[in-house]
Symmetry: C2
Subunit: 360 residues, 2 copies
């Protein structure tokens, strides 16, 4: 072998080695405000849902749950062949009805033929984790939508891409603001991953932005919370707070909640949802009666508000939310992915009908 040939081969080997090495290296970019999708308002902590210091008298549990990143997402584009995530959560205990991916992890969607398509998920390894969520992609520029943990406080997040590429923010992909105030079901229990939360499914399906104000076990329509909900600007208010309120609370508080919203937003449609039927309530008579009483009270309040002259108010009965084979929940109360799929199938056309009337 002559010297020239030897040198060429040596350089070729060097190049291959470098390229293999380069492929492995990732550069981490901290996520800041410009990447955020689904934010309800500006908050001192980026991954909180509301700035609780701005609202007087919020119940402690509501303030705490507002630190959970449910419904928030990060949008970016990159031509990286892989995406890594490095993050820390505060680290509250495991929920029996949630996967760690849903509670403290992520899922990733990629814009494909004009639609957001699921591409991968990342499970936490510990309070802090560093996980590759997708790899071996073709290196063309893509738009990504990364959903954040549903049931923990996200303390920080970095997204890593190939060192020869970068990430940049995408334009807001969703229109209008539909504020969804509700319970654990709105917060996302028990989707198998963050993006299968029902507000996120509705957002991807319709292109409208459903903003997540779900407070697990704590959507009780207290006057202070009603004031907070009403003070947040939105085009539509979707109220899914019946499951957490007792029949007495529903009778005492629904009227104030709806009227307070109406006062601040004279023409915004307000949609009141019944509570989904709790599947264990078919055998647990106490639970069955409680849900019936809640839903009767909600319907009565709806009728009373109409009689009092409140307009642009709508009511979604829960009869078909979970289907009829009793398999739509993980624990009798919280929809599993089947339950959320059925719920969306039932309410999405009804909500779109309402939005259509207002040319939103």
């Amino acid at each position: 072998m002559d010297l020239k040939k030897s040198v060429s081969i040596f350089i070729l080997i060097l190049c291959l080695a470098y390229s293999a090495f380069a492929q492995k290296k990732s550069i981490y970019y901290p996520i800041d405000e410009k990447f955020m999708i689904g934010k309800i308002e500006k908050t001192p902590e980026l991954f909180h849902r509301i700035d609780t210091s701005a609202y007087a008298g919020l119940p402690k549990r509501v303030s705490y749950l507002a630190t959970h990143a449910a419904g928030l997402a990060v949008g970016f584009k990159s031509s990286s062949t892989k995406i890594r995530l490095k993050w820390c959560v505060k680290g509250n205990g495991a929920n029996g009805n949630l996967t760690p991916i849903a509670q403290k992890g992520f899922d990733l969607y990629i814009k494909h033929n004009g639609k957001w398509q699921f591409a991968g998920a990342a499970a936490p390894k510990d309070t802090c984790s560093d996980v590759e969520i997708i790899s071996n992609m073709d290196g063309s520029e893509k738009e990504f939508l990364l959903y954040l943990p549903l049931y923990d406080e996200l303390k920080n997040l970095e997204v890593a891409v190939d060192e020869n590429t970068t990430i940049s923010a995408i334009a807001q992909p969703f229109k209008r603001r539909i504020l969804v105030y509700g319970s654990s079901i709105v917060q996302g229990a028990s989707a198998s991953r963050p993006g299968l939360n029902y507000t996120s499914i509705l957002t991807r399906n319709t292109g409208y932005q459903f903003l997540n104000l779900g407070f697990s076990g704590s959507a009780k329509m207290e006057p202070e919370v009603a004031n907070m909900v009403a003070s947040i600007p939105a085009d539509v208010y979707l109220l899914d707070c019946i499951p957490n309120s007792s029949p007495e609370e529903i009778t005492a508080r629904t009227n104030y909640l709806v009227k307070t919203i109406r006062q601040k937003h004279p023409s915004a449609p307000i949609i009141l949802m019944q509570s989904l039927v709790r599947e264990h309530g078919y055998f647990n008579a106490k639970v069955g009666t409680h849900v019936s009483d809640q839903n009767r009270a909600a319907q009565a309040e709806y009728q009373r508000l109409l009689q009092e002259g409140i307009t642009d108010l709508y009511f979604l009965p829960s009869t078909n939310f979970l289907g009829h084979d009793h398999e739509g929940t993980v624990d009798g109360t919280h929809p599993n992915d089947i339950g959320f799929e059925r719920m969306v199938k039932d309410i999405q056309p009804k909500i779109l009908d309402i939005l259509g009337k207002y040319k939103l």
Copy 2:
């Protein structure tokens, strides 16, 4: 008030107090062999799936996973108004893609109008737990089916009922034996609760007993495992082991697996399933190619077996297992409840057609 009246009232109060107290008290019954549903064979440890000491040369991981209670259930009847469970699991680490209810917990079904209807779920509190899974029932005698943890070893289990009632075993509710050998997907990842495992859904839907031989990440058709599978008596053999085997392993081992089963069971239908498509494989080219190669190899082996004269052999292509909106998995690989629902919808009629041919 006269003395007689006072004494009567006193006795009445005593009775009410006693009845309230009595309602709270539960008697715990240890679960033994007569209650077990879905057992593949007698095992030294009640909640193991196979007696691994009976099979020479099983891979260590397969022997370990056989200690997980996936697919097993406990059947009993009682007229208790509530059911409590006391249990310990061995306590392996949390799986990122499973709820604690599915991994180390339970769900309960009740026979209602001739069908098994979901009634409640129990999440673990720790390695050992004591949890009420249903309460406030009407006190009529009911048949219960309690599904055991999918991804941990269940060390012991007691079922508690009201002290004035008892529990007794029910007759085997399911007919025939369809042995399902496969991967994590057969073991139940990632159903939201144990009873939504696809073998359990098929069992409830069809009345046929689908026996769970799912070994997470370890269904590789090694000859020793093939010998074990073939030595277990069954009416039908359903093979869902393609996801864990490399294309080379599929080419090298499928033939031996099928022929060994055929040799021991000359006329039993054998059904070979393709691997479900991995949803992250649409973007991860390496994963996409791998699954295509696996499925091509599986189909080639099926054709080769037919050409070699093996009869009563069937093939289920995976094209429609997960539907086509890419939302049927928790992590790209493991079906969520939507994925399992779709998979069952696709394969159940095909399996029933095959069973029909054999008048099983």
